[in-house]
């Protein structure tokens, strides 16, 4: 039966294999399953989470919050009428926090009929102009029980309504500009912290469209952002309190800001103020619209990448994986496709690990490129042949694989094609790749356990992305690699040990 299935899949692969859209090879380590959605639901998914009792809870563009019992395959309505909900934090089996346009709301079922009857404001202490791009993200809870939310900047493709919530500051928008995102109302473009006593405080600024925030196992806070003005290519930021992450409009809401319209500051000044991204997702190569970073906390139930970050992508049938390391005190690292195709759809907006360790994915489009519905990815238990991690050395990179490699293919320098390039920080929409150069390998070593390849590069430059394309490398059991493309964001060189 299993064999038959695989044969059948291979046959399909042969037929459609000539079309690159579907040409990803069959991944035998992860299987994509599609969840049947209730009839009549426009399943543009804003969030997916799990209740302690194991039910899934999901919210959708038209304001529905629904629960799903996997055993009975039954969908039930929990709440409705919300405005563009894009985040859920589960409190108990009958209570959730939900981030919608106007506020963070506590939604509760207090009479145990399975339907919410209380919609309490948790916070609405931020500006709201009615601009279509003012999406709100989160909440997520830190280890001290503070909540974090992120507020999208407003779109230059839209405007602000005649009646707004909050005090308008005209300096948060470039005069006469049409394209650039802006921040005319308090804290658009900020990540905010809601303290346990209910006070909403500005936390970090410079975000354009941070459609995804999350923690890793150590409690480091991350946010993705979307390529556009001031964002040369989409980044993953390691977010720290008080830092500025590059999009200028939000700066007007910085405490004691006295430098006028931030769009009028020289790019070099803004550049010196900003904190660079921990990881860049090269546009058109790794991701065009990354979403939620979720840390694999399944302890191996989801495969060998425990502790690493998994990140959704809207524009492709792809999920991305990120591996980080601390260099000279700061996190930086590499991104690699985790899963391409194999039945996965586009629009991978929100993710959550189920109690059984499978990864559930809510899909969305919302007028952009994307999809609808919910899928889940199940680890089959067959260890993927893949790069486990990529580490910077003083002279190049160490690549560690999930399995021992076949020596002759792994020690052939031809099988490691490096190039580097950088992206400009400027007000233009996105950035080209600059100074694209192939980087020759000057030395190659393989570890005793045949799992780690040490590559020496002809040169290493900070501020560049190092893109590596692997050739036909196989594991010692003859298996080809799942992914052959990985991009390392080199912010800092590894300090030499004296």
């Amino acid at each position: 039966m299993n064999n038959k299935f695989i044969k059948c899949s291979l046959l399909i692969y042969v037929f459609i294999g000539s079309q690159p859209l579907f040409s990803q090879k069959i991944n035998q380590s992860y299987v994509v399953e599609t969840i049947k959605m209730p009839e009549g639901l426009t399943a543009e998914t804003g969030a997916v989470e799990f209740f302690p009792d194991g039910r899934l809870v999901a919210c959708f563009t038209r304001g529905e919050v629904m629960t799903y019992n996997e055993l009975s395959k039954e969908w039930k309505l929990f709440a409705s009428g919300l405005h563009d909900p894009l985040g859920i934090l589960v409190v108990s089996n009958s209570e959730i926090l939900i981030m919608q346009r106007p506020e963070l709301t506590r939604v509760k079922d207090t009479d145990d009929d399975g339907i919410a009857d209380v919609y309490e404001k948790v916070t609405d202490a931020f500006g709201l102009s009615g601009n279509y791009h003012e999406f709100n993200y989160g909440p997520i809870m830190d280890k001290d029980a503070n909540l974090l939310i992120a507020l999208n900047s407003s779109s230059g493709g839209g405007s602000i309504r005649s009646e707004v919530r909050g005090q308008i500051n005209p300096l948060g928008r470039e005069e006469g500009s049409k394209g650039q995102m802006f921040s005319n109302l308090p804290y658009r473009g900020w990540m905010m912290k809601l303290t346990k006593n209910g006070k909403l405080q500005p936390f970090a600024s410079g975000f354009r469209s941070p459609n995804g925030i999350g923690f890793d196992l150590e409690g480091n806070l991350f946010a993705t952002d979307n390529q556009g003005d001031w964002i040369g290519t989409s980044p993953l930021h390691h977010v720290k309190e008080g830092k500025f992450y590059g999009h200028p409009g939000s700066l007007v809401w910085q405490k004691d800001w006295n430098r006028g319209n931030p769009f009028l500051l020289a790019p070099e000044i803004l550049d010196s103020m900003r904190t660079r991204a921990a990881v860049l997702f090269p546009h058109g190569i790794i991701a065009n619209s990354p979403t939620q970073p979720i840390c694999d906390d399944t302890g191996g139930k989801f495969g060998p990448f425990s502790g690493q970050l998994i990140i959704g992508e809207m524009n492709k049938e792809r999920i991305v994986r990120v591996m980080l390391e601390r260099i000279d005190g700061e996190l930086q690292g590499a991104c690699i496709p985790f899963l391409d195709g194999n039945g996965l759809r586009k629009g991978n907006n929100r993710m959550v690990f189920a109690p059984d360790g499978s990864l559930w994915i809510g899909q969305n489009a919302h007028g952009w490129l994307g999809d609808q519905g919910i899928q889940r990815i199940v680890y089959t238990g067959k260890k993927p042949a893949d790069i486990y991690k990529m580490n910077l050395t003083e002279t190049g990179f160490d690549l560690t694989f999930t399995s021992p490699l076949e020596v002759s293919s792994a020690s052939n320098p031809e099988n490691y094609q490096f190039r580097h390039y950088y992206y400009k920080y400027h007000n233009k929409y996105g950035s080209d790749q600059y100074d694209i150069q192939n980087v020759p390998i000057t030395d190659i070593k393989i570890s005793n356990d045949l799992k780690t390849i040490s590559l020496k590069l002809a040169f290493l430059k900070p501020g560049y992305v190092y893109e590596l394309n692997l050739g036909d490398i196989k594991t010692s059991s003859g298996e080809p690699l799942n992914n052959k493309l990985i991009c390392y964001t080199l912010n800092k060189l590894k300090p030499s040990i004296p």
Binding site: L21, G40, R62, E64, M66, S155, I285, Y429
Partner: protein
């Protein structure tokens, strides 16, 4: 060509061919404008030129993502789209323009609110030349067709397989799209359940702050309570909301009121704790559903206020039940003679368009609002 197709073209020539141009000379340069719109589409999905005509194609981008435009040999759109995909990580630096004999002309990536143009001479060979955006994911839906022929004719739009399916219903303008989508919104269910009044939507709606709550009390009676200003803003009869534009999610749009507004609040604030109508410090707290009707909760100068709005028994007016359990002093309920309704209060004394209530009366009272003769001015 199969006979049926021949017949179709012949028939179409009489019935529905559209003469798109009637130029007498090919010496002048003709401008063609194509704009990229929200939703992975070109505004112009087809046009017709003469063989050898001099053309200047101006490509603008009104979308908020980047696009390119490639003109391909007849019949090779999908092939070019796939060739662009195969560029892989080299796609961005090549503007997703594959080095292919199938690509006749190409306009590199145009970012939002930018414009690029291309001058070229139309092919001598008559035919249908596709144009397409080859950014990965775009090419399957974002395309159009340049018809090159000397008779200046186009096939019937409904049967034109050279343009995207969703653009075959109407004329070549963007209106065609919104019409067809509008139709489909009406036939598709709005939700996985049938909404039964009372129910609510939090929406952007004109006449309120962006933190509005719209409530359908009955199928014929609705109101908008504004969490941004803690008050009932307006009420209407005749239906509820059309959210079809709002739910698309992209672009500044509002929920549309279906029906006729009969009340619009014109006070600074309907409740005062002092005779001078001064507005207290307001803080919205939320609402709970009582038999599915929302009871709103906010504070005025820190004092809890609850407002539950029900339809009158005849369904033609609103009953607003206020509770201010901890109030210690007099309360005034303010109205405006121009707000479209008559008022009846369960308690208090009517004086200069206001009800004055004692602290005890204000702990719980109701205000009934009926449409005035002549309605809202």
């Amino acid at each position: 060509m199969r006979p049926s197709i021949k017949l179709f073209f012949l028939l179409s020539a009489f019935l529905s061919f559209t003469v798109v141009y009637a130029q007498s000379t090919t010496d002048s340069i003709r401008n063609i404008k194509i704009d990229a719109l929200v939703g992975l589409q070109f505004d112009l999905i087809r046009f017709v030129v003469k063989p050898g005509e001099k053309l200047n194609l101006v490509f603008s981008n009104s979308d908020d993502m980047s696009h390119n435009l490639l003109i391909t040999k007849p019949g090779s759109r999908l092939e070019v789209v796939n060739e662009a995909l195969k560029l892989g990580e080299r796609g961005p630096q090549l503007n997703y323009i594959p080095n292919s004999p199938n690509v006749l002309w190409a306009i590199p990536i145009v970012n939002p609110n930018q414009t690029r143009s291309l001058s070229f001479i139309a092919p001598k060979q008559e035919g249908v030349y596709p144009y397409v955006c080859t950014i990965p994911g775009h090419g399957m839906v974002m395309f159009g067709a340049m018809y090159v022929n000397s008779n200046g004719m186009l096939p019937d739009l409904k049967n034109d397989t050279n343009i995207p399916v969703n653009r075959r219903n109407d004329d070549a303008s963007i209106l065609g799209i919104s019409h067809s989508q509008h139709r489909s919104v009406k036939t598709k269910p709005l939700h996985p359940y049938v909404p039964v009044s009372p129910y609510f939507y939090r929406v952007f709606i004109d006449g309120a702050s962006p933190a509005a709550i719209a409530v359908s009390l009955t199928s014929d009676l609705s109101y908008c309570w504004d969490a941004g200003t803690c008050k009932l803003r307006f009420a209407w009869t005749g239906g509820f909301l059309d959210n079809s534009e709002l739910w698309k999610g992209k672009g500044d749009v509002s929920a549309k009121v279906v029906g006729q507004v009969f009340f619009r609040d014109k006070t600074l604030f309907p409740l005062s704790f002092s005779p001078d109508k001064a507005v207290s410090k307001l803080d919205y707290k939320g609402f709970r559903l009582i038999n599915q009707f929302p009871e709103f909760h906010y504070t005025m100068n820190g004092i809890d206020v609850f407002e539950l709005i029900l339809p009158t028994a005849d369904g033609k007016g609103l009953v607003r039940i206020f509770r201010i359990p901890d109030v210690k002093n007099r309360v005034w309920f303010n109205t405006d003679s121009q707000d479209g309704v008559n008022y009846i209060s369960s308690h208090g004394i009517w004086q200069e368009n206001r009800f004055r209530l004692s602290a005890n009366e204000a702990k719980k009272f109701s205000i009934t609002m009926y449409m005035k003769e002549g309605g809202l001015r």
